[in-house]
């Protein structure tokens, strides 16, 4: 997030797109509700009538995967109405003119055709955001899990840049991070393009720095993404070390994943449970869980916080860092003689400019948000206040692209996937917490009541859902949260492996899977 969580109580206009915040990030949503109680206005764009939509002043029910068309049209309206922040564009950005020229082609009437949102509503929403003193944008996977995920994010940046809604209290572009430490995994360099602290691997200076730190020559080409690696299993990639990720269930196109992992000569999985992915391993190594492990995590607002062990590990389980270090030492790799997580964390701080002012003891009370470039620096709750990291904010000229697969006669229904309040990811954790099944005993396919009738389905009965990659059986729930022609399910239940169906495409830049959109066929199952 560019802004701290506490800023969520400060905007006068809130724009939420592709985020089911009341279910996926409930405590953050309570802050938005406080802003609303103080009189803030809210725009919500989402294919489904999610909880936030019910509280919105303007709700745009856009067709799945059409976000960038909607955002282009909003930019068009803002530009046309003269609501741009010229001073900000002049002083802080580049390519503004090109962008403003570019958006002239995309009036709301054009976007109405693609998104299904009435042009008048798009206009109204754009004017509301454009006139805001403090306009803040929030988004999640609904924006990024598309083949055009990067375009979508850039479109949001364009809106914030053209209206100067960044670098101030109650504004910003704020992605809500899904997993507790997904931000931290990136911070720590678990990325094919960056060393720890987002230092690019193609920069020769960084290469020299890390050759010295790690005591060996380093490639200057980026590594491959997980998606590419899975495609190359058995054809270039022959061994994998997977730490605590249930790839088989959470990634798209499950059959492809299983097939890939089986093609490896060697698979080692570190996890706390025997997951579907661990089942395929040659060696499974038991890790300590949350509550048993001392360490550090970083939340969605870049706050660096201590995790503390409260109980001893189960059985012989060991911390991940210990397991990986032992393995490294057996292979003769140097620099793995850690005896305490503190030594690992202090090395992270030493090597990354954004953590350089931190160490294990300094983060005791959770008060720092990175970047913390030197000792004594107070941290950076709000990014881009004076300038952007690379100097100026760059407008991107994006256009609209259709999803990788669009509905057809054979697969006439849009399936979109997501998360539910009570369950988390592949339920390896929430599925084992007592009581959760009381609220969420099984997966349901959410279908508009009129579609339930038209397609010959019955509320509470089984349906078959098919895509070009496979089919699954799931019970139907009639609800007008779903729009006509679009159905929803989560990917949390192993017995309804929704990700067998998804996976028609990837964002060419980030290789994020198109998990949000997939054309399917829905039929009743009679038995």
């Amino acid at each position: 997030m560019s802004n701290p969580l506490r800023d969520m109580e400060k905007p006068d206009v809130i724009f939420c797109i592709g985020t089911n915040m009341t279910e996926a990030h409930p405590v953050a949503a309570t802050r938005l509700k406080k802003a609303l109680a103080k009189g803030a206005k809210m725009i919500v764009a989402d294919p489904r009538v999610i909880g936030l939509a019910q509280k919105a002043d303007i709700y745009m029910q856009l067709r799945v995967g059409s976000d960038s068309a909607l955002l282009l049209a909003m930019a068009n309206v803002i530009a046309e109405a003269g609501l741009i922040d010229e001073g900000f564009i002049d002083e802080r950005t580049v390519k503004g003119e090109t962008f403003l020229d570019h958006v002239k082609q995309f009036p709301p009437e054009w976007a109405e055709e693609i998104t299904g949102v009435p042009a008048a509503t798009i206009r109204e929403a754009a004017l509301l955001y454009g006139q805001a003193d403090r306009g803040a944008i929030y988004y999640t996977l609904g924006i990024t899990e598309h083949i055009c995920g990067v375009d979508n994010v850039q479109s949001l940046c364009n809106l914030a840049l053209m209206t100067g809604n960044i670098g101030r209290e109650g504004t910003g572009i704020n992605p809500m991070r899904g997993q507790n430490n997904i931000q931290g995994a990136g911070d720590c360099g678990a990325l094919p393009n960056n060393y720890v602290g987002f230092q690019s691997v193609i920069d020769p200076e960084n290469q020299a720095k890390f050759e010295k730190a790690y005591g060996r020559p380093m490639d200057r080409e980026k590594g491959m993404t997980k998606v590419t690696a899975l495609n190359l299993c058995g054809k270039g990639v022959h061994a994998m070390l997977i730490d605590g990720e249930n790839t088989v269930v959470s990634d798209p196109d499950r059959e492809h994943c299983e097939h890939a992992l089986r093609a490896l000569d060697h698979l080692v999985v570190i996890d706390i449970f025997m997951t579907e992915t661990a089942e395929l391993a040659d060696v499974v190594l038991p890790a300590t869980a949350w509550g048993e492990t001392d360490g550090v995590c970083t939340n969605t607002e870049r706050r660096v916080q201590r995790l503390r062990a409260a109980v001893p590990p189960q059985g012989d389980a060991k911390p991940d860092w210990w397991i990986v270090s032992q393995l490294a030492q057996r292979l003769g790799f140097s620099g793995f003689d850690y005896t305490h997580p503190k030594e690992v964390f202090n090395e992270i701080c030493e090597l990354s400019p954004i953590y350089y002012g931190l160490d294990w003891d300094r983060i005791e009370h959770s008060e720092y948000q990175w970047p913390v470039p030197e000792e004594g620096h107070p941290g950076t709750p709000r990014l881009h206040e004076e300038s952007f990291i690379n100097g100026r904010g760059i407008f991107s000229v994006v256009t609209y692209r259709d999803p990788a697969e669009t509905i057809s006669e054979e697969y006439p229904v849009w399936l979109t996937t997501g998360r539910r309040l009570e369950s988390y990811h592949t339920r390896t954790q929430t599925g084992r917490a007592q009581g959760i099944e009381y609220l969420l005993p099984e997966e349901r396919l959410e279908v508009h009541p009129a579609d339930v009738q038209d397609w010959g389905l019955l509320d509470g009965e089984w349906a078959r859902l098919s895509s070009p990659r496979g089919s699954v059986k799931v019970k139907v729930m009639a609800t007008d949260r779903s729009p006509r022609g679009t159905v929803f399910a989560s990917f949390s239940f192993a017995d309804v492996p929704i990700n067998i169906l998804t996976g028609g495409g990837y964002d060419p830049a980030t290789h994020t899977a198109e998990l949000k959109v997939c054309p399917v066929r829905v039929e009743p199952v009679n038995n």
């Binding site: 009341t22 678990a190 990639v237 190594l285 038991p286 949350w290 490294a328 793995f336 084992r432």
Partner: protein, 363 residues
């Protein structure tokens, strides 16, 4: 600065004989808190709008005939306030006796919730007798609600409305409402039904603010009979990227419950159902407890760490020898701590000189 250590222009009140400064808009209660003058409260939760319902926080203000509720009374220049006069203390004791007369038990297990000891503590502080007022009890236990998280024992309810207010003001959910008034008051859900059928999201906020244990954390209460002290460990919720601070409650080696951290910077006392109630996966019987190696028979066999690590290392070595250093790939976790992700990427980079490392890239 004058002798009392504040700027002469700053506005002040006289609090228990001492001149103290206050900020614009502060209540007398807040000024007293800042100056370590402890005033007892029951309906007060500093996250919520002051309510002025229990009147336990009353103080004497010079020139006013009746004691005033300090939690709602704004400080004004020159106010002379006494927080612990004999009259006030007697008044508080009487009030507490009235309150406890509505309650059938005073021994409330601390596992019921974060604030569950507030009433009990005050009653012992003021040595308030029970049974002086035989008013009809307010509320009865809702035994029909079979939800596995929230215990509803309205016999203990003192109608402080903290649960109602936290739900409305902090959660914005309006799942709890109030039926009737006075001794007949009953805190209930919309339509007096099951929480499951209401707007309740089981965030547990009402449980944690209840000062009497009328609302309780059912999952934590399962451990009430374990005869060990409760220890608290501050950490961060293991679920989503909001990063709420929690205190893990343990008895011996067992995790028994979770309290929200009121001073957690991300959550300021709030939690959701996952952070509040979904902690017990940690000590679930399904946990992997020993390394496993796949045998010739294709099945997993338990192994020692030495055997398992040797076998794991051996496989990587062979692959590197046969296919080169680019044939090894690492996937780090978005759920494990920094130290896991960092050693994972270092394993690949320092070990193979490649950048064949990624994490679960879903934002």
């Amino acid at each position: 600065m004058n002798q009392n250590g504040h700027h002469p222009k700053q506005k002040t009140i006289i609090l228990n004989g001492r001149e103290v400064a206050f900020f614009e808009g502060e209540t007398v209660y807040e000024v007293a808190q800042r100056n370590q003058q402890d005033i007892p409260t029951l309906c007060y939760d500093d996250r919520l709008e002051p309510f002025g319902g229990c009147r336990l926080c009353v103080v004497d203000v010079e020139g006013m005939r009746n004691p005033v509720a300090s939690c709602t009374f704004q400080a004004t220049p020159g106010l002379v306030v006494n927080t612990h006069t004999e009259r006030i203390e007697t008044h508080r004791k009487t009030l507490l006796e009235m309150v406890v007369s509505e309650n059938r038990e005073l021994e409330v297990d601390p596992l019921r919730g974060y604030a569950s000891q507030e009433l009990t503590d005050l009653v012992s502080l003021y040595e308030a007798q029970t049974g002086r007022f035989q008013g009809s009890q307010s509320g009865t236990t809702n035994t029909e609600d079979d939800n596995p998280f929230i215990f509803r024992d309205y016999d203990l309810c003192i109608s402080c409305y903290r649960c109602v207010r936290v739900c409305a003001e902090e959660e914005g959910d309006y799942a709890i409402s109030i039926m009737n008034r006075g001794f007949e008051t009953q805190i209930t859900t919309e339509f007096n039904g099951l929480l499951k059928d209401s707007a309740c999201t089981f965030c547990g906020q009402c449980v944690q603010t209840c000062p009497t244990g009328a609302l309780g954390d059912l999952k934590a209460m399962r451990a009430a009979s374990i005869p060990l002290p409760i220890a608290k460990t501050r950490t961060i919720c293991p679920y989503c990227g909001v990063g709420c601070s929690v205190d893990v409650l343990t008895k011996g080696d067992q995790i028994v419950g979770i309290h929200p951290a009121m001073d957690g910077p991300a959550n300021e006392g709030a939690l959701c159902i996952k952070g509040q109630f979904a902690f017990d996966f940690v000590q679930h019987g399904d946990r992997l407890k020993t390394p496993l190696i796949r045998g010739e028979d294709g099945r997993f066999h338990p192994a020692s760490w030495d055997e398992a690590l040797d076998r794991a290392a051996d496989g990587f070595q062979k692959v590197e020898e046969q296919y080169g250093r680019h044939a090894v790939y690492g996937v780090a976790s978005g759920r494990a701590p920094h130290e896991a992700a960092y050693t994972m990427q270092k394993f690949i980079r320092a070990g193979y000189g490649t950048h064949n490392i990624d994490n679960c890239s879903r934002a």
